[in-house]
């Protein structure tokens, strides 16, 4: 299983999407926003949570559909499915690897963005924690979509219909949590706990659903 994790990360790192690449990617995305909303730092600070979460979503959507279709096209999927390892676990690992290259970099880079969007150190802390708790959910939900795309090669539509609506709540709670932490008028713990709940929940259900899809999809 470690082998799988290693292979996933090395492979995606080779073709230019490692952790460092992730940080660079988010830097780019963040830089784009001021051009749209204007250089008003106060406003940007207020939008920061939305910016970061949208970046996270975009990052994991890019190449999400390749998560399993690529395995299928080069024939690896058959072998992954045949082994004695529980398929759920295999998928969980793949999802985690996906998160390592898409979600984790954002978490690590948050302090940097804290400076650029001048968040208070406290806010940076909270944002990091919230992203850490929330972004894995995106990857886990994503695997379901990716699995569907394999099962129905020509029903790729479903990937988006399935993933995005499920993801929206994650984003909403994530943003709410950060906002709550930054201004006292809104609650923090509520949304945050919700976020953790969603992540734990999806970390099981996502791989489960995906494994059901994949078990006999390979054809």
């Amino acid at each position: 299983m470690i082998a799988l994790l290693k292979r996933e990360i090395v492979s995606s790192w080779r073709s230019g999407s490692g952790a460092l690449m992730g940080v660079l990617f988010f830097l780019t995305v963040v830089t784009v926003f001021p051009f749209a909303v204007g250089p008003d730092t106060r406003l940007l600070t207020q939008l920061a949570p939305a910016i970061l979460w949208i970046g996270a979503l975009l990052a994991s959507l890019l190449g999400l559909d390749r998560l399993f279709t690529q395995e299928r096209e080069d024939g690896s999927l058959d072998l992954l499915v045949m082994q004695s390892h529980p398929l759920m676990l295999t998928i969980f690992i793949k999802a985690s690897a996906h998160w390592f290259t898409t979600g984790l970099p954002l978490v690590l880079a948050t302090p940097l963005f804290g400076i650029m969007l001048n968040l208070s150190p406290a806010a940076v802390g909270v944002t990091m924690v919230t992203l850490l708790a929330g972004t894995p959910a995106i990857s886990f939900i994503g695997t379901v979509g990716a699995a569907v795309a394999v099962k129905l090669p020509r029903g790729g539509m479903l990937i988006s219909i399935l993933v995005l609506p499920l993801v929206i709540p994650v984003l909403i709670f994530g943003i709410a949590a950060i906002a709550g932490a930054s201004n006292t008028s809104q609650p923090f713990t509520g949304p945050f706990l919700f976020l953790c709940a969603i992540t734990l929940f999806t970390s099981v259900l996502g791989p489960l659903a995906a494994s059901v899809m994949l078990r006999h999809s390979a054809d």
């Binding site: 492979s11 080779r14 024939g75 082994q83």
Partner: protein
């Protein structure tokens, strides 16, 4: 060890492709599956390997004492399909090491396995640098790095040059002599003696 397949029926895309397939293989026996293009060889092999749902029929594996293994048969199989299951952007070594670790039951070391298919000099090349036949040979090396009692091979020699074909048939002979069970679909003679053969009916579609 004994593999029993009882009137298997399989469908692809909602259409039944093959049906009534039955055979028995004991340790050391080989089954050659032949038939026209589109007759259902790959389908059958995938069915046996547990990669397709069975419409009906069953695939069971018994040990010497005649009691059935409780794990699904697929866990005892090597499956080599039309695709080579190599990641383009990893080196040959990385690919093989991964499959060895992931499949477990180490048999030969990666270096030895590559030596067997005489590709040791390509070990550190990214696998998309290899030619078609070289890729195929790496996929064959994959069979040697970890130990499985059953090999299910789908046109293993496609793209191989003459001497690699000899090399390959030497390997499968050795495998059968060590009491392995071999199921291979092919259009070309593989130079195996006394094999069972399964001829799949004419193209249904």
């Amino acid at each position: 060890m004994k593999l029993i397949v009882e009137n298997l029926a399989l469908s692809r895309g909602g259409q039944q492709i093959v049906s009534g397939i039955s055979f028995e293989l004991t340790a050391g026996e080989a089954l050659v599956v032949t038939g026209e293009n589109g007759s259902g060889k790959s389908t059958t092999l995938r069915g046996v390997a547990g990669l397709l749902p069975l419409d009906h029929g069953q695939v069971c594996l018994f040990d010497e004492t005649g009691k059935q293994f409780e794990e699904p048969v697929r866990e005892y199989c090597h499956y080599l399909g039309h695709k080579n299951a190599l990641k383009q952007n990893l080196t040959v070594r990385e690919n093989l090491t991964f499959w060895q670790d992931f499949m477990g039951d180490t048999l030969l070391s990666v270096e030895e396995a590559l030596e067997e298919v005489n590709l040791s000099h390509t070990i550190d090349l990214p696998s998309n640098y290899l030619s078609t036949g070289q890729k195929r040979r790496v996929a064959i090396a994959k069979l040697l790095v970890s130990d499985r009692p059953i090999w299910i091979l789908d046109e293993p020699t496609s793209g191989l040059d003459a001497q690699s074909v000899d090399m390959f048939s030497h390997h499968i002979k050795a495998f059968c002599e060590d009491g392995g069970i071999l199921i291979v679909a092919t259009h070309l003679p593989l130079g195996l003696k006394d094999t069972k053969t399964l001829k799949i009916g004419t193209e249904p579609l």
